[in-house]
Amino acid sequence: MTLGSPLDILGILSVLVAVAALLIWVERRLLAIWQDRLGPNRVGPLGLFQVVADMIKILSKEDWVPPFADKPVFVLAPVVIMASMLAAFAVIPIAPDVGIIDFDFDLLYVLAVMALSVYSLMLAGYASNSKYSLIGALRATAQAMSYEVFLAMAVLGVVMLAGTFNLRAIVEAQRDGWFVVPQFLGFILFFIGILAETHRTPFDLPESENELVAGYHTEYSGMKFGMFFVGEYVGVTLGAALIVTLFFGGWHGPVLPPLVWFIIKTAIFILLFILVRGSLPRPRYDQLMSFGWLVMLPLSFLNLLVTGAVVLWR
């Protein structure tokens, strides 16, 4: 059942945190290019050391807890998102012999841990004891809870085709063909669901800066604020890795070694997330919710029914 040694765990964890930090620079640079600007290009080659500069700045800032905050909960909230997002990576099958845990309910575990991460936003909003934070947290919770439903239902099509919750078995089942072909609708639903789960634009209503200052993390500063961001970027990486695992054949691919294929595919989806942010506007909140319940829900039911019928018919 177990797969990784302590060394593997340490390696994967540190790579993840490094990728999350690097993504801040990647995102700023790419958004700038797509918006016809330059972006951070002063520190180091291509502005690559901007990450280091940001880190130094964020670590040396005063770690301030507002006097009106609910202190224990305020401190706990950013830890929850970072820990849960990193913990979810434990079951992601990176390559045939790279990974940490392999057990029969991988996929349910990922969904469970992602559900836990929502507590972070909610508790941050509550503990900050400020209006903007509270509104942001209420939005975040309602949005995450509704889109989690579609996320789980979109995955069920893949589970039916593969006949298992085990992510490694799902990857193996895609040896002859990626699930994105029979499950295209499922893929689209899952992609939208992941965008909403990680609060990326166009689903960043909880932290929409022009109406809520910064939403649930308005009162946070220093490394606590940084942890929300690391959590978000690990979440983006997790979402991309899940999409690759479930719909795009995981590590399968010609010529190149499996690990390289996994990294390439994941990187493509991370870039797609950023491109979506660069190109789509933010909807109104009621539009977002009614889109979820009136469009996503029927479509995911339809996907489930058709897939079930096809699987039974064969």
């Binding site: 609910d70 909960v73 969904l111 559900a115 909610m122 508790l123 509550y126």
Partner: protein, 166 residues
């Protein structure tokens, strides 16, 4: 051996957290302790081999039901006044005797449980088994539960329906 250590520590966490739910004055903190207790319970399920139940415990109870509770409590915005009120409602005199009686019951329960052979840890229940049990012997219970949920859904829809202006 390790699984027994994990089992008893998880069980201890869940018991302590449940006690904290009752004695904490702040409603949100009490809910956080409920969540902690559920998480510890899911570890207990996991160690007993019920992986599926453990995961569903987190997804359904922690991820959805408790979140709704917390959502509502947050919207009520209870504040400092309720804190004082709660504190007034639970002076030591109020819980001294009930807890003494509960302690007697607890000792009896522990005594009865000690008579039984301890169940073995780690009999793994596959998801297929769960599905077969739900749709064969317990199909009636599943159907009844779904009817209950449907009734709840219709009720909730009725309560939140806006009057249509003609």
């Amino acid at each position: 051996m390790l699984s027994y250590v994990l089992f008893y520590s998880a069980a201890l966490v869940s018991v302590v957290a449940t006690i904290m739910v009752i004695v904490s004055f702040n409603a949100v903190h009490a809910l956080l302790y409920v969540i902690l207790s559920f998480l510890a319970l899911s570890i207990v399920f996991y160690l007993m081999g019920a992986f599926y139940a453990a995961m569903l415990q987190i997804i359904v109870h922690v991820g959805a039901i408790m979140m709704l509770f917390l959502f509502v409590v947050m919207m009520l915005n209870l504040g400092r006044r309720t804190l004082e009120q709660e504190r007034k409602w639970l002076p030591p005199a109020a819980w001294r005797w009930p807890s003494a009686m509960a302690a007697v019951l607890l000792t009896e329960l522990v005594f009865v449980l000690m008579q039984e052979e301890p169940a073995a840890l780690g009999h793994i229940v596959a998801s297929k088994e769960v599905g077969i049990h739900l749709l064969r012997p317990y199909v009636l219970a599943v159907e009844l539960a779904s009817m209950l949920l449907l009734a709840g859904l219709v009720g909730a829809y009725h309560l939140t329906r806006r009057e249509v202006k003609t």
